[in-house]
Point group: C2
Chain length 257, copies 2
Amino acid sequence: MSKLRIDLAYDGTDFHGFQKQHGLRTVQGELEAAIHDILGSPIDISGASRTDAGVHARMQVVDVPLADKRHLPLEKWLYVLRRRLPKDLVANRVSLTSDAFHARHTVNWKMYRYAIDTSPVPDVFLARYATHQPFHFDLDAMRRAAAPLLGEHDFTSFCAKRAQQISKVRTIHAIEVYKEHSILWIEVKGNAFLQHMVRILVGTLAQVGRGRLQEDRVKEILEARNRCLAGPTAPAHGLCLWHIEYPTDYATLTQNE
Amino acid sequence: MSKLRIDLAYDGTDFHGFQKQHGLRTVQGELEAAIHDILGSPIDISGASRTDAGVHARMQVVDVPLADKRHLPLEKWLYVLRRRLPKDLVANRVSLTSDAFHARHTVNWKMYRYAIDTSPVPDVFLARYATHQPFHFDLDAMRRAAAPLLGEHDFTSFCAKRAQQISKVRTIHAIEVYKEHSILWIEVKGNAFLQHMVRILVGTLAQVGRGRLQEDRVKEILEARNRCLAGPTAPAHGLCLWHIEYPTDYATLTQNE
């Protein structure tokens, strides 16, 4: 008994999110169909993150219980997956890991990056991956506003109202705000995230950056545990699941890269 | 009487090329429809390059004869165009130029860049803009093979057979071959290009780079004036019209950037 770990990347534009939904094109759906085709029997996979429709992933991790169905030598997996997956969904790495590994539950931390194109005219080649907001942003004010969000908190104010998670307590390790040419990046690193959490954090910090929300209001909003007080949910297409870190205990047994 | 010069950029993936075609989504078609909407009357525009279906442009230039139809102050053009154009077609600059300016005929030189992703696993975020060829390329052999192509020649061997141009004589100023991380770039600068010319040059040089074609064969292929001898036409989506240079005589009268 062992598990297959697959590291994926996808352009989320044409997917209805990660999670399988009947009749819709999803990352999980496409991947399960490809693996079903390879193994000859249906299989359920788990992903590290249920990214929303339109959100991209530079690194997403799924685990695949192999049981006795492992017909295929490890070194063939990358090749056969690539042949079966669509152009906007790529398997970057396939490895054999312990049965105790679980793509979502054993995560150490995850990092999301959000891109805002602040140039007067949008860069057409970034239009799928960044929101266009041709405004001045006060980066220092955004950084100061973000400081009280670090650490363990109840993030109800920064969670979609319809979210099903019972506990809204999460830990944010770091929030970085910086510019690279005309792109404003907001990087959020944490142990786990609530539904829309990163997008609401971004939407709120962007309001601070534009001077539409006082920077010290962010701490009050966090404490109020009320979604209505926070800023808007930033558009999905600016967000990318950038990195997922697992404890070294789950070092892969063998890998094929 | 004066002309409007519009500098455009587009992601060519979802366009059937630049040139207007009945019932198909083209750059010219979308742009003329937007300008028609702005001016209230139909208009014919000329583009510097008739890029093929799937080819991108970081810089494409069109001229728009204004006659007496110029209802709109110059400073408004960028804004109103942006509101009317789709997300994958962006006007970067609008300027007023002399009536003698012609987007295609007055070109000084144009530069195209072709991108080949040579990494073992394709980068999903480059999949629209680079062809995936996970092979070793001998860059020096490609450079040596390219040398005899520089200057004025009859490029019949590197032109689509169905091309309508009568004279196949063109001048190539420079061909650069270099790598940036895992991307192999082929840059071609010239006064004008025949149909598919850059893509056939790239397809032929790539054959040399992979050791499938002797480097000194390229000179012979050029001299034979026979399309059948050259390499395959490289896929459209790796190609981008990168820059167009006009003589300074056509310096814009006023501009809005």
